[in-house]
Symmetry: C2
Subunit: 180 residues, 2 copies
């Protein structure tokens, strides 16, 4: 990368991951140099968008955190699973039963959830309780054509020094339970 | 069945299930006629043994409950998964991490559980929390040769008018998570 601008030739835009790229999970500051790097990309006149598989919080809370870390990011520049999910639900006229983190539920506001005809799993973390898994299972098994969406496919991730089960594992679990 | 005793010809013993046979799950009395039936079997001189897949409680608590319901059953007449599991653990020199109902833990007393080299799942019900599933997963993935025992294979059972996830579902879930 040079300051001549030539490296941007043929580059129509930049798509950046967030966690592990702009900041490390659990940390309370940006990864060294990342604030400056994003700034330079934007100053080079390139459209920059951010994508994330984060489903433990709302998009706005995530954006606010990033901006506290020194970034200058707008909500509409961030592509996250829940807004995409909401669009699919609307298009297919689906009313989800949500098994998601309580902190993320605001991003589903306005989505009808009565008489659920599908289940949506997010990274619910401690909300993956027996009672909540049971409820999701009961709804799936009550449907003629069970529909299960997962907001991520990851089996597990590194959480500090430990591994932690991710939403993809719970999705696979419900799949095999339903398949018998 | 007649009272002449002839029906016992060639019968060397009787093996009876407990839940759903002697009493219904969640009920606080014996199924009508079952106390009398067991009594007649014993009076006919037949050895009677009871088997159960019950892992939410200790064998003794189960036997005490049955005797409160009017049966006359000794602990050693009841074959339950946990005592069988303890025997296997001893034979194979295994030290389990237990993901079981707290009410059943006394039946594992004396079993070494330090430096776990296998995981044992029982019908842990509400103990199937995210934290506990995570812990079981972390132990399995840390082992060169992960060993997972399940005290039951049932996917789900009828709990009142609802279906409830059974231990077999959590075993399958951990299996697919480990298989990737």
């Amino acid at each position: 990368m040079t300051s001549t601008g030539k490296w941007t030739d043929g580059v129509e835009g930049i798509l950046l991951d967030i966690t592990g790229v702009l900041y490390e999970s659990g940390e309370s500051e940006a990864i060294t140099g990342s604030v400056e790097a994003v700034k330079r990309l934007k100053e080079a006149g390139l459209p920059v968008r951010f994508c994330t598989n984060e489903t433990t919080t709302t998009r706005q809370v995530l954006v606010d955190k990033l901006n506290r870390f020194g970034f200058d990011i707008k909500s509409e520049e961030v592509f996250a699973p829940i807004p995409a999910m909401c669009q699919v639900l609307k298009e297919r006229n689906l009313r989800p039963h949500l098994l998601i983190s309580r902190n993320a539920s605001a991003d589903f506001s306005g989505v009808p959830t009565d008489n659920s005809n599908c289940v949506v799993l997010g990274d619910a973390v401690d909300e993956f309780s027996y009672a909540n898994l049971n409820k999701a299972f009961q709804i799936l098994i009550s449907l003629d054509k069970p529909i299960l969406f997962s907001l991520g496919k990851g089996r597990y991730y590194k959480d500090g020094k430990d591994l932690a089960l991710d939403v993809g594992s719970f999705c696979r679990a419900l799949e095999v339970i339903m398949d018998g």
